[in-house]
């Protein structure tokens, strides 16, 4: 078993959704994550706020305020899952509801010491 990270990008158009649609969207994410957890493959993760944030860059550590990227590039959260290989990890990622909102999931291998 290795660890893999899902990086969620985009899908932030739910900002303008109605309460009922927000609840429906929340339930889809919950069902998907609960299912990964039920398989014993969920390691952890956190959502990231679309609000305040800073980007530090360059030698001078130039500081700029968010937004940090175009809407569909903004990272909205991450999840770490256990899987036997990258293919199984990618397979788990396919169930993510973010695709309904034009977002993407980047699947990366977490390097082990």
């Amino acid at each position: 078993m290795s660890k893999y990270m899902f990086l969620f990008r985009g899908g932030s158009d739910m900002q303008q959704a109605s309460p009922a649609d927000q609840q429906a969207n929340m339930m889809k994410w919950k069902v998907w994550m609960d299912d990964i957890a039920a398989k014993g493959k969920l390691h952890g993760g956190e959502p990231l706020s679309y609000g305040a944030g800073k980007v530090l860059s360059g030698r001078t550590m130039k500081m700029t305020d968010g937004p940090f990227a175009e809407g569909k590039e903004i990272v909205g959260g991450y999840l770490i899952v256990d899987a036997k290989d990258i293919n199984e990890a990618a397979e788990l990622g396919k169930g993510c509801p973010i695709f309904e909102n034009d977002g993407s999931v980047e699947v990366r291998v977490v390097m082990e010491m």
Binding site: A17, P19, Q22, Q23, M26, W29
Partner: protein, 418 residues
């Protein structure tokens, strides 16, 4: 307040319902002028829940979590922006001082007072200065937590139309200043406006020409919920409120049998009475009893009494049409409208035969543009064996409705004319 059943579970309409409750409470805090600020805070609260709950689990008491987040966001916004906001005189000083800010917000956004905030908001949304279609759109948006696409779907109009209605409604709404109960001297007429809007909401759900089954049920549920809220407050717990609730409950009890699995209309005569919801009928009886205990007699009283006669008839044949005609006579004295005359004529046809009914129907003036009128005329002609005239009446009726279910029903009737 959360009931024990709510703890740890998520009801279907939690976000929508809590959105309405939080907007009401926040609008009272900030004043009508800042209703959009209230809506922003609620939107941000729900987004936070949408993002966090899948990762961290649904909180034990979801509503309490939402309210706490909304309170904190409100305090943050006031801390940063209160100088720039035109606050209501009575809270401005309290909300601008760091000493009293948190405690004032917490006190005003506490659970027990939210039911009253919703009622105040109901009176504000149904203010006579707003045209009724704007009242309904505003009530659905702010009080019921519907989104613009959902309201547009419910009324089968474009989102742009709803946005325009909301824009104009909000302008009038902001001018109201504070959100309060009407003074006792104005309560009865203002309550009439509220009830008329609730009934419109209900009818839109009940008779809607839209095929969207779910949105129709949502409207019915919201109308019942708002009316029920009115019965639970001492100021608005009045006979006509119970009467309207009874009326809507009698109708709602039959709603499942009015449309068959294919979405076709099932006539009253053919409805499966065993599938009528006995619990809702019992609840309706309860509210009708409470209604007649009140002092005033409203149209809703009589209409509920008519619905009760229907609801309690075991079979179509055992409907007491004499009693119904008597009630329509009462209703005509309160509201001498063509629709009431029309309904009375239908009852006459049932009690005294199609010839007597046709005579009564001929006397009705002002319904010539309605498909219901011509469909009923067709039925009475058919029953008298005048099939050619009946077919022509059905054809005319079909040109007057755009509802697919109504058109389908009329086609079936035309076919039956041979």
């Amino acid at each position: 307040m959360s009931t024990p059943e709510e703890i740890g579970t998520l009801t279907d309409h939690l976000f929508r319902r809590e959105a309405g409750r939080m907007v009401a409470a926040l609008t009272r805090l900030f004043g009508a002028k800042h209703v959009e600020l209230a809506e922003d805070i609620v939107q941000e609260t729900l987004l936070k829940a949408m993002h966090e709950w899948p990762y961290h689990g649904v909180p034990d008491v979801p509503a309490a979590w939402l309210h706490r987040v909304a309170r904190n966001l409100a305090i943050d916004r006031l801390r940063r922006e209160s100088r720039g906001l035109e606050l209501l005189k009575e809270n401005a000083a309290l909300l601008r001082s760091e000493w009293t800010l948190s405690s004032t917000v917490n006190e005003m956004l506490n659970a027990p007072s939210i039911a009253d905030d919703q009622l105040r908001m109901m009176f504000a949304c149904c203010h006579p200065s707003l045209p009724r279609e704007q009242q309904v759109a505003l009530a659905l948006k702010t009080l019921c937590g519907f989104g613009v696409p959902e309201i547009a779907r419910a009324f089968v109009v474009s989102e742009e139309t709803i946005n325009k209605r909301l824009y104009r409604a909000r302008e009038a709404f902001r001018a109201l200043g504070s959100i309060e109960f009407p003074p006792p001297s104005e309560l009865a007429p203002r309550l009439e406006h509220v009830l008329a809007t609730i009934y419109l909401l209900f009818n839109e759900g009940y008779n809607s020409t839209s095929h969207q089954h779910l949105i129709r049920e949502d409207l019915i549920e919201e109308a019942l919920r708002l009316c029920d809220l009115l019965t639970r407050n001492a100021t608005t717990d009045r006979g006509e409120v119970h009467a309207l609730l009874a009326l809507m409950l009698y109708h709602a009890a039959r709603s499942a049998t009015r449309i068959d699995a294919d979405g076709s209309i099932v006539l009253l005569r053919e409805q499966d009475r065993s599938k009528w919801d006995g619990e809702l009928i019992a609840l309706a009886d309860h509210h009708l009893d409470r209604a007649v205990a009140g002092q005033a007699m409203s149209m809703y009283h009589v209409e509920a009494a008519i619905a009760a006669v229907h609801a309690h008839a075991a079979t179509f044949a055992s409907i007491d049409w004499r009693a119904i005609i008597g009630l329509y006579d009462q209703l005509l004295r309160l509201n001498p409208s063509p629709v009431v005359q029309f309904n009375r004529a239908i009852a006459v046809a049932q009690a005294d035969g199609s010839a007597a009914g046709a005579l009564a129907l001929e006397a009705v003036k002002g319904m010539e543009g309605s498909h219901l009128y011509h469909a009923a005329r067709g039925d009475l002609l058919r029953d008298q064996g005048r099939v050619d005239e009946a077919r022509a009446a059905y054809t005319l009726a079909a040109t007057l409705t755009r509802s697919p279910a109504q058109n389908e029903l009329l086609r079936r009737k035309q076919d039956a004319c041979g």
